[in-house]
Symmetry: C2
Subunit: 226 residues, 2 copies
């Protein structure tokens, strides 16, 4: 029933346009009553994004289920992958919706509020993990925003490819940037311990003509000594 309503709605949105389609049109095509529609969807906008509520719940559950010693930035990146997977499961539908959303300002606004809720879910998780640390909420908010931006950059590239590119590879690449900037993964030896001095600096002096690899080698060995 739910799937039939979504299918009927999208058929009409594509044929007539979103604004020109009423809930009555949708239920007539699906062969059900208005009450059935509103049992599943609070409004016409919600039928455009039928899976976000479930995905938000999945994300929250995923974050809550993680072990306490899991690296927090990797964890939120993995949580963001759940959203991508939802889109990638159904490329045709996702691409159609992308085109529709671009044309209808009301749907763009709806989408922004959904994106905001994902971002808050990630930020709340990180705030918990960073609780008691200096600038914990600031770091949590910044990392959550960076993860969402990277995810959406990859998602939009994939949607613009009409779902033909490799979505998982694109998002892995994009989230790799965020992990490199904020996570522990790329430079594990160089990270200060949680209680370490944040002002700890490394100074490398190199001739301008020195080969880059040698400077990097030197840099790594200096950083590793921390």
């Amino acid at each position: 029933m739910r799937d039939a309503l979504v299918a009927a709605a999208f058929r009409l949105f594509l044929e007539r346009g979103y604004e020109q389609t009423t809930v009555d049109d949708i239920v007539a095509l699906a062969g059900v009553g208005r009450r059935s529609f509103f049992r599943y969807f609070p409004s016409k906008e919600d039928v455009v994004f039928p899976d976000h509520e479930r995905c938000l719940a999945d994300m929250t559950a995923f974050l809550a289920a993680g072990p306490d010693d899991d690296e927090p930035v990797r964890r939120v990146c993995d949580a963001a992958r759940l959203v991508l997977r939802m889109y990638a499961e159904n490329p045709t539908f996702s691409v159609q919706r992308y085109r529709l959303t671009k044309r209808v300002p009301g749907l763009r606004a709806y989408e922004l509020s959904v994106v905001w809720r994902y971002e808050r879910a990630l930020a709340e998780y990180l705030r918990g993990r960073f609780a008691g640390r200096r600038d914990g909420t600031l770091r949590a908010d910044v990392i959550a925003a960076a993860v969402v931006a990277a995810h959406n950059n990859a998602l939009r590239s994939w949607l613009r490819s009409d779902g033909r590119d490799d979505a998982e590879a694109a998002v892995d690449h994009a989230l790799g940037h965020v992990q490199a900037a904020f996570g522990a993964a790329p430079v594990p030896a160089a990270l200060p311990p949680a209680d370490g001095d944040p002002e700890d600096v490394v100074v490398v002096v190199a001739r301008r003509g020195a080969p880059l690899w040698r400077v990097v080698q030197e840099l790594e060995s200096v950083r590793g000594r921390g």
Copy 2:
């Protein structure tokens, strides 16, 4: 006239509530006609955020006016400070609006769309600056999102302090995090003599925790300038 409309609107929003106040109520209190209202504000929501259009225009102009060799991350951080200044110019009004916006879902949605436009303005600028560089649009989007998140974290702290804390200090601190993560900040000291002495040296100063790829990237750009 514009200011009088904003003052009348806020008086009524605070007395009766936002939803219970009509545009007719506002123009009656301000002693002007409906047409005057709509000359300044496309809708009732717009009167709640009367300065964002000007601030967005200021931000775009500020970014466009920057010298080509300005460090891009610092530039977008400075652009974000324009928004904070707009809030800090009028603490009482900003705090009232913050409380109002928290209570009215429609205003929250409006605010999200405004935040999105600021973020896009910063991202577009960075995309231009990073054009032709690998992952330029990805980096642009991630940095713009991080700047906005840091700014908003500081702004919300200030609003929650009822405008009593030092707004500029809070946002400087927050944006400092973003510059540390993404900007050229970790490598402040490069010593390239003007005559290109083959023995000249490069001094790299990096936080121990800075991601290696970013140090290398900066190192490359410093060496390239020789």
